[in-house]
Symmetry: C2
Subunit: 186 residues, 2 copies
Protein backbone atom coordinates (compact mmCIF):
# COMPACT_ATOMS: atom_id res chain seq x y z
CA UNK A 1 0.00 0.00 0.00
CA UNK A 2 1.23 3.49 -0.80
CA UNK A 3 1.77 5.99 1.98
CA UNK A 4 -0.90 8.14 0.32
CA UNK A 5 -3.33 5.32 1.07
CA UNK A 6 -2.19 5.31 4.67
CA UNK A 7 -2.57 9.07 4.96
CA UNK A 8 -6.07 8.89 3.60
CA UNK A 9 -7.19 5.99 5.78
CA UNK A 10 -5.59 6.94 9.07
CA UNK A 11 -8.28 9.45 10.21
CA UNK A 12 -11.01 6.89 9.49
CA UNK A 13 -9.17 4.33 11.57
CA UNK A 14 -8.79 6.76 14.48
CA UNK A 15 -12.45 7.62 14.24
CA UNK A 16 -13.48 3.94 14.37
CA UNK A 17 -11.16 3.31 17.26
CA UNK A 18 -12.59 6.24 19.19
CA UNK A 19 -16.13 4.94 18.61
CA UNK A 20 -15.12 1.44 19.76
CA UNK A 21 -13.68 2.86 22.95
CA UNK A 22 -16.67 5.15 23.52
CA UNK A 23 -19.00 2.18 23.04
CA UNK A 24 -17.05 0.04 25.50
CA UNK A 25 -16.90 2.78 28.15
CA UNK A 26 -20.62 3.51 27.73
CA UNK A 27 -21.45 -0.14 28.25
CA UNK A 28 -19.23 -0.44 31.29
CA UNK A 29 -20.17 2.76 33.06
CA UNK A 30 -23.35 4.00 31.44
CA UNK A 31 -23.71 6.77 28.94
CA UNK A 32 -24.31 9.36 31.65
CA UNK A 33 -20.77 8.85 32.97
CA UNK A 34 -19.13 9.00 29.53
CA UNK A 35 -16.72 11.92 29.12
CA UNK A 36 -14.54 13.02 26.24
CA UNK A 37 -11.52 12.95 28.56
CA UNK A 38 -12.12 9.31 29.44
CA UNK A 39 -12.47 8.33 25.77
CA UNK A 40 -9.34 10.24 24.82
CA UNK A 41 -7.31 8.58 27.60
CA UNK A 42 -8.63 5.05 27.06
CA UNK A 43 -8.03 5.27 23.31
CA UNK A 44 -4.56 6.75 23.70
CA UNK A 45 -5.56 9.60 21.38
CA UNK A 46 -4.83 13.22 22.27
CA UNK A 47 -7.75 15.40 23.32
CA UNK A 48 -7.11 17.50 20.20
CA UNK A 49 -7.24 14.41 18.02
CA UNK A 50 -10.53 13.40 19.62
CA UNK A 51 -12.04 16.88 19.24
CA UNK A 52 -11.12 16.84 15.55
CA UNK A 53 -13.54 13.94 15.04
CA UNK A 54 -16.05 14.68 17.81
CA UNK A 55 -16.14 18.31 18.95
CA UNK A 56 -18.43 17.50 21.90
CA UNK A 57 -20.23 14.65 23.64
CA UNK A 58 -23.36 14.98 21.50
CA UNK A 59 -21.26 14.58 18.35
CA UNK A 60 -19.78 11.42 19.84
CA UNK A 61 -23.26 10.05 20.61
CA UNK A 62 -24.34 10.94 17.05
CA UNK A 63 -21.35 9.01 15.75
CA UNK A 64 -22.27 5.95 17.80
CA UNK A 65 -25.86 6.19 16.60
CA UNK A 66 -24.84 6.47 12.92
CA UNK A 67 -22.67 3.39 13.24
CA UNK A 68 -25.42 1.36 14.93
CA UNK A 69 -28.04 2.31 12.37
CA UNK A 70 -25.66 1.48 9.51
CA UNK A 71 -25.05 -2.00 10.98
CA UNK A 72 -28.77 -2.54 11.55
CA UNK A 73 -29.60 -1.47 7.97
CA UNK A 74 -26.98 -3.78 6.50
CA UNK A 75 -28.31 -6.74 8.52
CA UNK A 76 -31.88 -6.04 7.41
CA UNK A 77 -30.86 -5.74 3.76
CA UNK A 78 -29.04 -9.06 3.94
CA UNK A 79 -32.03 -10.80 5.50
CA UNK A 80 -34.38 -9.30 2.89
CA UNK A 81 -32.14 -10.41 0.03
CA UNK A 82 -32.44 -14.02 1.27
CA UNK A 83 -36.28 -13.95 1.35
CA UNK A 84 -38.18 -14.60 -1.90
CA UNK A 85 -41.68 -13.77 -0.61
CA UNK A 86 -42.63 -10.12 -1.04
CA UNK A 87 -45.48 -9.90 1.48
CA UNK A 88 -44.15 -9.09 4.94
CA UNK A 89 -40.53 -9.37 3.81
CA UNK A 90 -39.34 -6.30 5.70
CA UNK A 91 -41.12 -7.52 8.85
CA UNK A 92 -39.50 -10.98 8.65
CA UNK A 93 -36.08 -9.38 8.14
CA UNK A 94 -36.73 -7.08 11.09
CA UNK A 95 -37.74 -10.11 13.19
CA UNK A 96 -34.65 -12.05 12.13
CA UNK A 97 -32.29 -9.22 12.99
CA UNK A 98 -33.93 -8.40 16.32
CA UNK A 99 -34.04 -12.04 17.41
CA UNK A 100 -30.40 -12.59 16.38
CA UNK A 101 -29.16 -10.07 18.89
CA UNK A 102 -28.46 -12.70 21.54
CA UNK A 103 -26.38 -14.80 19.15
CA UNK A 104 -23.12 -13.27 20.30
CA UNK A 105 -22.43 -11.44 17.04
CA UNK A 106 -19.56 -9.00 17.17
CA UNK A 107 -22.13 -6.23 17.00
CA UNK A 108 -23.87 -7.31 20.17
CA UNK A 109 -21.87 -5.14 22.52
CA UNK A 110 -22.53 -2.20 20.31
CA UNK A 111 -26.22 -2.89 20.07
CA UNK A 112 -26.58 -2.84 23.82
CA UNK A 113 -25.82 0.85 23.44
CA UNK A 114 -28.89 1.49 21.34
CA UNK A 115 -31.13 1.64 24.34
CA UNK A 116 -29.05 4.35 25.98
CA UNK A 117 -28.78 6.28 22.74
CA UNK A 118 -32.47 6.34 21.86
CA UNK A 119 -33.15 7.68 25.35
CA UNK A 120 -31.22 10.82 24.42
CA UNK A 121 -33.76 13.42 23.29
CA UNK A 122 -32.22 14.39 19.96
CA UNK A 123 -31.45 10.77 19.00
CA UNK A 124 -35.07 9.80 19.67
CA UNK A 125 -36.02 12.13 16.83
CA UNK A 126 -33.48 10.51 14.53
CA UNK A 127 -34.80 7.02 15.34
CA UNK A 128 -38.38 8.21 14.73
CA UNK A 129 -37.27 9.38 11.28
CA UNK A 130 -35.80 5.93 10.55
CA UNK A 131 -39.08 4.21 11.52
CA UNK A 132 -41.18 6.59 9.42
CA UNK A 133 -38.91 6.21 6.39
CA UNK A 134 -38.99 2.42 6.54
CA UNK A 135 -42.75 2.32 7.16
CA UNK A 136 -43.28 4.42 4.05
CA UNK A 137 -40.79 2.40 2.01
CA UNK A 138 -42.53 -0.89 2.79
CA UNK A 139 -46.11 0.36 3.10
CA UNK A 140 -47.44 -1.91 0.35
CA UNK A 141 -45.95 -5.12 1.79
CA UNK A 142 -45.61 -4.59 5.57
CA UNK A 143 -48.29 -2.24 6.87
CA UNK A 144 -50.89 -4.75 8.11
CA UNK A 145 -51.78 -4.60 11.84
CA UNK A 146 -50.33 -8.11 12.19
CA UNK A 147 -47.00 -7.04 10.69
CA UNK A 148 -46.93 -4.05 13.03
CA UNK A 149 -47.74 -6.25 16.01
CA UNK A 150 -44.99 -8.70 15.03
CA UNK A 151 -42.45 -5.88 14.83
CA UNK A 152 -43.54 -4.55 18.24
CA UNK A 153 -43.02 -8.03 19.71
CA UNK A 154 -39.57 -8.13 18.07
CA UNK A 155 -38.80 -4.78 19.71
CA UNK A 156 -39.81 -6.28 23.05
CA UNK A 157 -37.52 -9.30 22.56
CA UNK A 158 -34.71 -7.01 21.40
CA UNK A 159 -35.18 -4.87 24.51
CA UNK A 160 -35.20 -7.96 26.72
CA UNK A 161 -31.95 -9.17 25.16
CA UNK A 162 -30.32 -5.78 25.51
CA UNK A 163 -31.09 -5.40 29.17
CA UNK A 164 -30.98 -9.16 29.82
CA UNK A 165 -34.30 -8.92 31.58
CA UNK A 166 -35.57 -12.40 30.64
CA UNK A 167 -34.00 -15.83 30.48
CA UNK A 168 -35.46 -17.32 27.30
CA UNK A 169 -34.63 -20.90 26.40
CA UNK A 170 -33.81 -21.58 22.74
CA UNK A 171 -36.99 -23.52 21.97
CA UNK A 172 -39.33 -20.84 23.38
CA UNK A 173 -37.38 -18.30 21.40
CA UNK A 174 -37.57 -20.28 18.16
CA UNK A 175 -41.30 -20.92 18.61
CA UNK A 176 -41.93 -17.24 19.18
CA UNK A 177 -39.97 -16.27 16.06
CA UNK A 178 -41.91 -18.77 13.94
CA UNK A 179 -45.22 -17.54 15.30
CA UNK A 180 -44.33 -13.93 14.52
CA UNK A 181 -43.08 -14.76 11.03
CA UNK A 182 -46.41 -16.46 10.38
CA UNK A 183 -48.15 -13.23 11.43
CA UNK A 184 -46.20 -11.35 8.75
CA UNK A 185 -47.88 -13.56 6.13
CA UNK A 186 -51.39 -13.47 7.62
CA UNK B 1 -51.73 19.68 61.89
CA UNK B 2 -49.15 19.82 64.63
CA UNK B 3 -45.70 21.19 63.94
CA UNK B 4 -44.34 17.73 64.77
CA UNK B 5 -46.29 16.47 61.72
CA UNK B 6 -44.72 19.19 59.60
CA UNK B 7 -41.26 18.38 60.85
CA UNK B 8 -41.77 14.73 60.02
CA UNK B 9 -43.24 15.32 56.58
CA UNK B 10 -41.01 18.10 55.32
CA UNK B 11 -38.04 15.89 54.32
CA UNK B 12 -40.35 13.60 52.32
CA UNK B 13 -41.75 16.61 50.51
CA UNK B 14 -38.29 17.90 49.65
CA UNK B 15 -37.30 14.45 48.42
CA UNK B 16 -40.36 14.25 46.14
CA UNK B 17 -39.72 17.74 44.84
CA UNK B 18 -36.10 16.89 44.06
CA UNK B 19 -37.19 13.77 42.18
CA UNK B 20 -39.78 15.76 40.20
CA UNK B 21 -37.13 18.28 39.20
CA UNK B 22 -34.59 15.57 38.36
CA UNK B 23 -37.19 13.82 36.20
CA UNK B 24 -38.04 17.03 34.35
CA UNK B 25 -34.40 17.93 33.73
CA UNK B 26 -33.62 14.38 32.55
CA UNK B 27 -36.48 14.51 30.09
CA UNK B 28 -35.48 17.92 28.78
CA UNK B 29 -31.75 17.39 28.49
CA UNK B 30 -31.16 13.66 28.69
CA UNK B 31 -29.90 11.73 31.67
CA UNK B 32 -26.28 12.05 30.56
CA UNK B 33 -26.43 15.81 31.07
CA UNK B 34 -28.10 15.60 34.49
CA UNK B 35 -25.99 17.03 37.32
CA UNK B 36 -26.63 17.37 41.04
CA UNK B 37 -25.85 21.09 40.75
CA UNK B 38 -28.54 21.59 38.12
CA UNK B 39 -31.12 19.73 40.22
CA UNK B 40 -30.21 21.69 43.32
CA UNK B 41 -30.51 25.02 41.49
CA UNK B 42 -33.73 24.21 39.62
CA UNK B 43 -35.38 22.92 42.80
CA UNK B 44 -34.24 25.90 44.89
CA UNK B 45 -32.77 23.47 47.42
CA UNK B 46 -29.25 23.92 48.79
CA UNK B 47 -26.58 21.52 47.59
CA UNK B 48 -26.31 20.28 51.18
CA UNK B 49 -30.05 19.66 51.31
CA UNK B 50 -29.85 17.71 48.06
CA UNK B 51 -26.86 15.64 49.21
CA UNK B 52 -28.76 14.72 52.38
CA UNK B 53 -31.31 12.86 50.23
CA UNK B 54 -29.10 11.86 47.30
CA UNK B 55 -25.38 11.70 48.08
CA UNK B 56 -24.45 11.23 44.41
CA UNK B 57 -25.91 10.96 40.93
CA UNK B 58 -26.39 7.18 41.14
CA UNK B 59 -28.44 7.60 44.31
CA UNK B 60 -30.61 10.11 42.47
CA UNK B 61 -31.12 7.67 39.57
CA UNK B 62 -31.97 4.93 42.08
CA UNK B 63 -34.55 7.23 43.62
CA UNK B 64 -36.14 7.91 40.22
CA UNK B 65 -36.17 4.19 39.47
CA UNK B 66 -37.81 3.30 42.83
CA UNK B 67 -40.53 5.84 42.22
CA UNK B 68 -41.22 4.59 38.69
CA UNK B 69 -41.41 0.95 39.74
CA UNK B 70 -43.72 1.82 42.63
CA UNK B 71 -46.10 3.61 40.23
CA UNK B 72 -45.94 0.74 37.73
CA UNK B 73 -46.66 -1.83 40.48
CA UNK B 74 -49.64 0.13 41.77
CA UNK B 75 -51.11 0.41 38.26
CA UNK B 76 -50.69 -3.33 37.64
CA UNK B 77 -52.30 -4.20 40.98
CA UNK B 78 -55.28 -1.98 40.19
CA UNK B 79 -55.75 -3.57 36.78
CA UNK B 80 -55.48 -7.08 38.25
CA UNK B 81 -58.05 -6.29 40.94
CA UNK B 82 -60.55 -5.38 38.20
CA UNK B 83 -60.09 -8.67 36.30
CA UNK B 84 -62.05 -11.73 37.48
CA UNK B 85 -60.37 -14.33 35.22
CA UNK B 86 -57.30 -15.94 36.78
CA UNK B 87 -55.63 -17.27 33.62
CA UNK B 88 -53.36 -14.65 32.10
CA UNK B 89 -54.49 -11.98 34.55
CA UNK B 90 -51.03 -10.57 35.17
CA UNK B 91 -50.40 -10.45 31.41
CA UNK B 92 -53.65 -8.54 30.73
CA UNK B 93 -52.84 -6.09 33.52
CA UNK B 94 -49.36 -5.65 32.08
CA UNK B 95 -50.86 -5.04 28.63
CA UNK B 96 -53.37 -2.55 30.00
CA UNK B 97 -50.72 -0.55 31.85
CA UNK B 98 -48.23 -0.55 28.96
CA UNK B 99 -50.87 0.46 26.42
CA UNK B 100 -52.19 3.22 28.71
CA UNK B 101 -48.90 5.06 28.61
CA UNK B 102 -49.99 7.34 25.78
CA UNK B 103 -53.16 8.36 27.60
CA UNK B 104 -51.63 11.47 29.08
CA UNK B 105 -51.63 10.21 32.65
CA UNK B 106 -49.75 12.39 35.11
CA UNK B 107 -47.15 9.67 35.26
CA UNK B 108 -46.38 9.82 31.55
CA UNK B 109 -43.56 12.32 31.78
CA UNK B 110 -42.00 10.21 34.47
CA UNK B 111 -42.36 7.01 32.52
CA UNK B 112 -40.46 8.43 29.58
CA UNK B 113 -37.52 8.32 31.94
CA UNK B 114 -37.69 4.56 32.31
CA UNK B 115 -35.89 3.97 29.07
CA UNK B 116 -32.93 6.11 30.13
CA UNK B 117 -32.85 4.50 33.55
CA UNK B 118 -32.87 0.88 32.45
CA UNK B 119 -29.96 1.69 30.15
CA UNK B 120 -27.85 2.41 33.23
CA UNK B 121 -25.90 -0.76 34.05
CA UNK B 122 -26.83 -1.12 37.72
CA UNK B 123 -30.49 -0.31 37.13
CA UNK B 124 -30.69 -2.98 34.41
CA UNK B 125 -29.94 -5.52 37.14
CA UNK B 126 -32.70 -4.10 39.32
CA UNK B 127 -35.21 -4.31 36.47
CA UNK B 128 -34.13 -7.90 35.71
CA UNK B 129 -34.89 -8.74 39.35
CA UNK B 130 -38.38 -7.23 39.00
CA UNK B 131 -39.10 -9.34 35.90
CA UNK B 132 -37.85 -12.53 37.53
CA UNK B 133 -39.86 -11.93 40.70
CA UNK B 134 -43.08 -11.29 38.78
CA UNK B 135 -42.50 -14.26 36.44
CA UNK B 136 -42.12 -16.53 39.48
CA UNK B 137 -45.10 -14.98 41.25
CA UNK B 138 -47.43 -15.58 38.28
CA UNK B 139 -45.84 -18.76 36.91
CA UNK B 140 -49.02 -20.82 37.23
CA UNK B 141 -51.24 -18.33 35.40
CA UNK B 142 -48.99 -16.34 33.03
CA UNK B 143 -46.07 -18.46 31.83
CA UNK B 144 -47.42 -19.73 28.49
CA UNK B 145 -45.39 -18.79 25.38
CA UNK B 146 -48.41 -16.78 24.19
CA UNK B 147 -48.52 -14.78 27.41
CA UNK B 148 -44.81 -14.11 27.10
CA UNK B 149 -45.20 -13.07 23.48
CA UNK B 150 -48.06 -10.72 24.41
CA UNK B 151 -45.95 -9.07 27.09
CA UNK B 152 -43.05 -8.63 24.66
CA UNK B 153 -45.41 -6.93 22.21
CA UNK B 154 -46.62 -4.69 25.05
CA UNK B 155 -42.99 -3.80 25.77
CA UNK B 156 -42.59 -2.87 22.11
CA UNK B 157 -45.65 -0.62 22.19
CA UNK B 158 -44.49 0.91 25.48
CA UNK B 159 -41.09 1.60 23.94
CA UNK B 160 -42.70 3.12 20.84
CA UNK B 161 -44.82 5.42 23.03
CA UNK B 162 -41.87 6.44 25.14
CA UNK B 163 -39.68 7.40 22.24
CA UNK B 164 -42.64 8.43 20.07
CA UNK B 165 -41.27 6.32 17.25
CA UNK B 166 -44.63 5.34 15.71
CA UNK B 167 -47.84 7.19 14.98
CA UNK B 168 -50.54 4.69 15.93
CA UNK B 169 -54.16 5.58 15.34
CA UNK B 170 -56.61 4.72 18.13
CA UNK B 171 -58.36 1.91 16.26
CA UNK B 172 -55.12 0.09 15.32
CA UNK B 173 -54.05 0.44 18.91
CA UNK B 174 -57.34 -0.90 20.30
CA UNK B 175 -57.32 -3.83 17.85
CA UNK B 176 -53.77 -4.71 18.85
CA UNK B 177 -54.64 -4.62 22.56
CA UNK B 178 -57.65 -6.90 22.02
CA UNK B 179 -55.60 -9.35 19.98
CA UNK B 180 -52.93 -9.52 22.66
CA UNK B 181 -55.47 -9.92 25.46
CA UNK B 182 -56.93 -12.85 23.53
CA UNK B 183 -53.45 -14.41 23.43
CA UNK B 184 -53.28 -14.26 27.23
CA UNK B 185 -56.32 -16.58 27.34
CA UNK B 186 -55.18 -18.94 24.56
Amino acid sequence: MSSAYHRKKQPERVRSQLLEVAARLSLEQGIAALTLDAVSQAAGVSKGGLLHHFPNKLALLDGLFDELVARFDRAIEEAMAADKVEKGRFTRAYLTVCFALDQGAEGQGWQALTIALIAEPHLKARWRAWVARRAAEFATTDSSPDCLLARFAADGVWLADLIRSHELDASTRAAMLEKLKALSLA
